[in-house]
Symmetry: C2
Subunit: 506 residues, 2 copies
Amino acid sequence: MHTNYTLGGILTGVLLGIYSWLSPGIDYNVTYHPKATAQLRADSRPNIVLIVADDHGREAVGCYGNTAIRTPHIDQLAADGIRFSNAFCTTASCSPSRSVLLTGLHNHTNGMYGLEHQVHHFNSFDTVRSLPVLLEQAGYRTARIGKFHVAPERTYHFQQVLKGGGTNDPASIGRSPVEMARYCYDFLKEKSDQRSDARPFFLYFASDDPHRSNTVGSDGKPIFDGSKPNVFGNRPGGYPQVGDHFYQPREVKVPTYLPDTKACRAELAQYYESVSRIDQGVGRLVDYLKEAGQYDNTLIIYLSDNGAPFPGSKTTLYEPGMRLPFIVKLPKSHKKGFVQDALISWVDVTPTLLDFAGVTNVAKQGRSFKNIIEQENVTGWDEVYASHSLHEITMYYPMRVLRERQYKLIYNVAHALPFPMALDLYNSFTWQDILRTKQNVYGKRSANAFLNRPKFELYDLQADPDEVKNLAANPKYTATLKRMQEKLKRFQQQTRDPWVSKWEFE
Amino acid sequence: MHTNYTLGGILTGVLLGIYSWLSPGIDYNVTYHPKATAQLRADSRPNIVLIVADDHGREAVGCYGNTAIRTPHIDQLAADGIRFSNAFCTTASCSPSRSVLLTGLHNHTNGMYGLEHQVHHFNSFDTVRSLPVLLEQAGYRTARIGKFHVAPERTYHFQQVLKGGGTNDPASIGRSPVEMARYCYDFLKEKSDQRSDARPFFLYFASDDPHRSNTVGSDGKPIFDGSKPNVFGNRPGGYPQVGDHFYQPREVKVPTYLPDTKACRAELAQYYESVSRIDQGVGRLVDYLKEAGQYDNTLIIYLSDNGAPFPGSKTTLYEPGMRLPFIVKLPKSHKKGFVQDALISWVDVTPTLLDFAGVTNVAKQGRSFKNIIEQENVTGWDEVYASHSLHEITMYYPMRVLRERQYKLIYNVAHALPFPMALDLYNSFTWQDILRTKQNVYGKRSANAFLNRPKFELYDLQADPDEVKNLAANPKYTATLKRMQEKLKRFQQQTRDPWVSKWEFE
């Protein structure tokens, strides 16, 4: 019933539209005409499953080179598909990053300048047309499960909200991705509804793992205890159907941006356990897709909203914060296990998924990489831009970034302020230990340098992958600095960034 | 039909509720029971007209001592009622200030941290219960005309939106308060509807005057021309039924916070003209109230959202930004022309108006001053708090203020940043002239000191009304500083201010 799209060339349609196949095969380019006469036919467009982990850093994935952590199911997805080695979020904060993922617009354009929940209260413009809404209009069945964290609901509307918590409560199902997968089963295998017996689906699967646990007091406010390791949602007795993966502090790999301390190792061990839980959720979801006979016709993406929840990664636009796992399992891979080194960012995800769904007439800031996924030595994919403005409402720290293959420019708009620490990171055992022991070394940086930043940071990533030797004031790099500043400013102008005014006013 | 409430002692009710008169006379204290059995009776509660001018500084009102400006109708309102000499907004920015006025909650509590329009996109929490909504529930007819600038609509819902623009377009009716008054006429004289023939009304009347004109280009973006005086909505030929009040630059009174320059005088002359226009709107509105037989049963308030649209006032919490005109015309005054020196702020307005409407069971952060309006030498009204966080989305500059009779403490949370200038103020002829002529004097301050501020500013307002001698570092004032810091912090804790964390973290 599900025609594999690589067979191509078959004129198909759905109740809500007709699809014109401009070219057959893997390289098809479908233009969707939503107002065309409805026809009821089998729909060969792929299902889409977008898996979004919460704070899963690239350094904590087996297939990205970590030999200590056990992520066999994510690794298998990469073995079945394509692993991107240069994939980036554009803002290392939960709600803003998800807003970019789901709109194809930088968050400074879609209005989600910071976190959505509680007092932070950011939300996107009503006029924004998001991925689930566009896919629904294109005839897809849409559902989400787990963490949402974007608003308003009407802008990010999914037809179904599957049972499963989106909170950071350890008891929440968002901490139990295997259960989450189970709650998706009916949706995955649903073969008919009132309108079509073959409509493809879009499932947005977003775990709370491996985010830090936020314990909440009776007043509803989070309780932070920096005197011991966070448990990252781990709990005694574990979660239903989740196999235990415990890690010893001595066996974790401490990435270069973190301090190799007992405190940090203890937290990394807990973090790994949480990562292994989302990994098992991925495995179960794949099992169910296979059981439902949908695996071969489903595009699966695994990514994270931002880097690991440690100072030095999440909320920063240093490499650990923005360079992330990104794995694409195509409906039919020609190059299983291929590593794609094109530079892509989360602003490209919506255009790409819309492209797979045959929707190409929607203006977005990113661009579809569908046609280059399995290409080697691609050209024209050599830079990404990033834009972060706030995390919590009190954490104003706009950064604008141009990241090329060799050089990276960070423009710290509010550089006069100390870098604001998210409450959960400030109160982490890892950071509090640094404060307690009065160390001024944090990873490869001084803690001082981490907190007090210059207006411009320019790094040669090839010579200095840890981004600690700022070349912005080095006369040898004046031309590079100027060239990248001009590009960055142009990017801000073109994407209607409100903060572009700061080039003139501050 | 309209029982004057000073006659008191008559048990009355409305269709939606019954009112229990706890004590008769001027000091009545009405508890409203919305779920009580409906009864159709004449309602003796006063009508309420809340007039909100846009950027009308206290120094540009006749009855506040300006002998050059002509504001006879506002002055007459003060002569018929009470003029407050110590009334303050809590945040000198349009949307946030209006959100405080209409909720009785500080904007850091109601969620409106900055401007509502365009990219700034701030809005209050859905859970907030605003004045118009509560008055509607209490049986009032509610309508608004002119500038709105708060969101979401459902939180700030009025039953009727009367014809009249809320934009800064010079062609807009928001610039023509006399016309605005005309469009209110039917609402004012409406004596019956389906539910009651005697329901009181709440009219929210908000002009665009005397805001600066924002000329908008074909791309929808404002055009600022700092090479000549802004026209503040004035236009050749004037507005319908508005008498001309032109002013010469030589005759304006330059307040001490502004530079006595040609540029500034030229802008003040235009500003005065705009003020005289809203004044005529007030006059016309009063005429219509009288014509409709409602004047004697209507509580009228005249105030401004924040100070004058010049650097040094609006967007700052210096006195010119926050100490504002506030005139109350009671339904029946016992002391016409009384000057009340109690310190009140905009957070008190909603509790007071609800009190007049007999609604006393709603938790608000401000408190009703209804019972002390005509009292001399009141006690317990000797301090106000102010809280400003952002104006435009790019203008992060949280300030928290405790303003007592003698001392004033300003806590500049992001003091490391240069003070951010609103685009219209930065591009004003007055400011651009300062830049062009490279003056470092601006009013009583240096331009430099205006832009770069210390963490704490402590002023003795009696010795130093211009707030230029910062006592925060003066050992003689250590105890005062500490006392006020403690109070300010407690205020932040009690009002659930997200920025209270900065006492610890920055």
